[in-house]
Symmetry: C2
Subunit: 347 residues, 2 copies
């Protein structure tokens, strides 16, 4: 009996997901640089690299250090780095791995140049998410200024977060790629790199794209299923929980609340507000507090206190970040335990 | 310069908050058993116990173990414990500390009795939250059955989560306490224990209440300010963040997203959807992804890349759980660093 709550990873499904995305990248003739923020585990990174990934994407320097320690030699830090402490670490990291960084301002580029960090630069472009990134028409100007600092600008990148609100993923991706190509028009043989799992298969087939950076595909989650980027049988990560209270005929309380599932909602247009669902039955976690998940069940369901249930997360990335360790299973057998080595590394 | 994102604790405000709640409990003639899930730090627990707390409340066995290691001798685990691994640990813990557990079912009571754990029992009562707990009219029956197993039932407890949706906290608390007193009617000299920070001061003055269990009061947060249970000048915990991108005149992107702020919304009726706010200015984090917070700022605000900002969390408890360490400050001076020793202990 696995003590709960626990993060379960289905090894067979994980391998299948890793293979399928590697094949999609190969078929599209693009490089695959998976975003490791989803899994934060060197064991999963190793599977991705063995399957042909060109390198990894990370959000944070601390993650980059963990994966460099774990043997990855080519890392994109898709985040603007600023501050003396970070620039010192970046400079040190760039001596032992091939490192690229994304940025969208001259301030960050100048700090990197002054630190003397031996890194390549990608201009982050806002193709519609309205988060960070320069607008497509401003990319060429920034690229020129960055190059004038002595830094090598190798291309452009975007995170297609806006796709989660789109009704047509293929059209949204085509539009984002057109903006990226506009942004990269003055660069020679640019890297043109597109992020996000639901659009990865479309991006891989778009002319001009040289690289895709999906993350969530390794485990998938309810949001990806809602976007038809995955099916139930692709789900590879679950929170194993135990029924701890049966206070009403239509209510079960489980020991998985927001401290293991996060408060992330389903990220899809018109999705109901809930905190995950029971695998197999689809019973939703209609409410959650830190340590309690309230599952709405059909009245008169036999569901005893002590029963274990697998919960499918709405968004798997923050869930992994809430565990120190993952329990690796084949079917119901525990075959290994992996450390979430890059958990909590926000700096 | 503190590297960001970082969890900042204002030591002076923390001490003042600890003192104020201790005084409220003394004035009401009730015991104070603070919920340690908010801070998860033995240093904060020590301040609470020094100020007169009768013991601590925790949600999880792992938290209880950390605080017992840290010197706390009287702990309420306000959570139904089930499963062999947990019952073994509970039995061991009860040999080195005075332990009470909350439960709402005979199944859990039976497991504890069979394990031979030397613990006292409190019946968890649902006074309106509709999460776990027996209804007030069912408490006496369960208490009798639990006692027949040879366990000592010392009283009743409730978590007044419903208060966060109430317009009149005093009235909501009065109602909850009436239900608790009904539930405890057959017990001799029962503990009558009420949880939640916004209602703690009201509960302390309600006849019959013997104990209050507020948690959030040590640090306070935007939700407590919204409920008028705190003011801006009581806020003692912040996420220090850095501006990393200024992509538009009315938008700043900071390095604090849901990986440090959680996705918890403001828990108050009619509250806007946001992910925190900048301390001092009130600028809201209108969007957040894992590593990015998008701050809406007045157009033409001078806010350079590299500027550090203090962010007030919507709900401080999950925020603390996302950090390994807190930076303790007096004003702007760093005076200490405390480990979040019970972080992530969900089992």
């Amino acid at each position: 009996m696995i003590d709960t709550p626990a993060l379960l990873i289905d090894a067979g499904r994980l391998r299948a997901n890793v293979e399928a995305m590697a094949a999609a990248a190969r078929d599209g003739g693009v490089a695959l640089r998976p975003h490791a923020k989803t899994h934060k585990m060197v064991e999963v990174a190793a599977l991705q690299l063995q399957a042909g990934a060109a390198g990894l994407t990370v959000a944070k320097l601390g993650e980059a250090e963990v994966f460099a320690d774990g043997g990855c030699e080519d890392i994109l830090i898709a985040y603007p780095l600023i501050g003396d402490a970070k620039l010192e670490r970046l400079t040190a990291l760039a001596r032992r791995a091939r490192v690229a960084v994304a940025l969208d301002s001259l301030e960050v580029a100048r700090a990197i140049a002054e630190a003397g960090a031996d890194v390549r630069v990608r201009i982050e472009v806002d193709t519609g998410q309205r988060r960070a990134g320069v607008l497509p028409g401003d990319a060429a100007g920034l690229a020129r200024e960055v190059a004038a600092l002595g830094l090598r600008v190798e291309g452009v990148m975007t995170h297609e977060g806006q796709a989660y609100a789109a009704s047509d993923l293929a059209a949204a991706t085509h539009d984002a790629v057109a903006k990226l190509r506009e942004a990269a028009a003055t660069l020679e043989e640019p890297v043109i790199s597109v992020g996000s799992t639901p659009t990865a298969r479309f991006a891989a087939r778009e002319p001009g794209v040289t690289e895709i950076r999906p993350g969530t595909y390794v485990f998938q989650d309810r949001t990806q299923v809602a976007h038809k980027a995955a099916t139930e049988s692709d789900l590879a990560a679950f929170v194993l929980a135990t029924v701890v209270s049966r206070p009403a005929p239509d209510r079960a309380v489980i020991d998985a609340g927001t401290k293991v599932l996060s408060s992330d909602r389903l990220n899809a247009p018109g999705a109901p507000v809930d905190f995950g669902a029971v695998y197999g039955t689809g019973w939703p976690l209609v409410r959650a507090s830190e340590e309690h998940g309230v599952v709405a069940i059909p009245p008169r369901t036999r569901l005893d206190i002590g029963t274990q249930l697998r919960i499918v997360p709405n968004h798997v990335c923050p869930v992994v970040n809430l565990f120190d360790e993952a329990v690796i299973v084949e079917g119901d057998d525990v075959i290994d335990r992996w450390r979430v080595a890059a958990r909590g590394l926000s700096r």
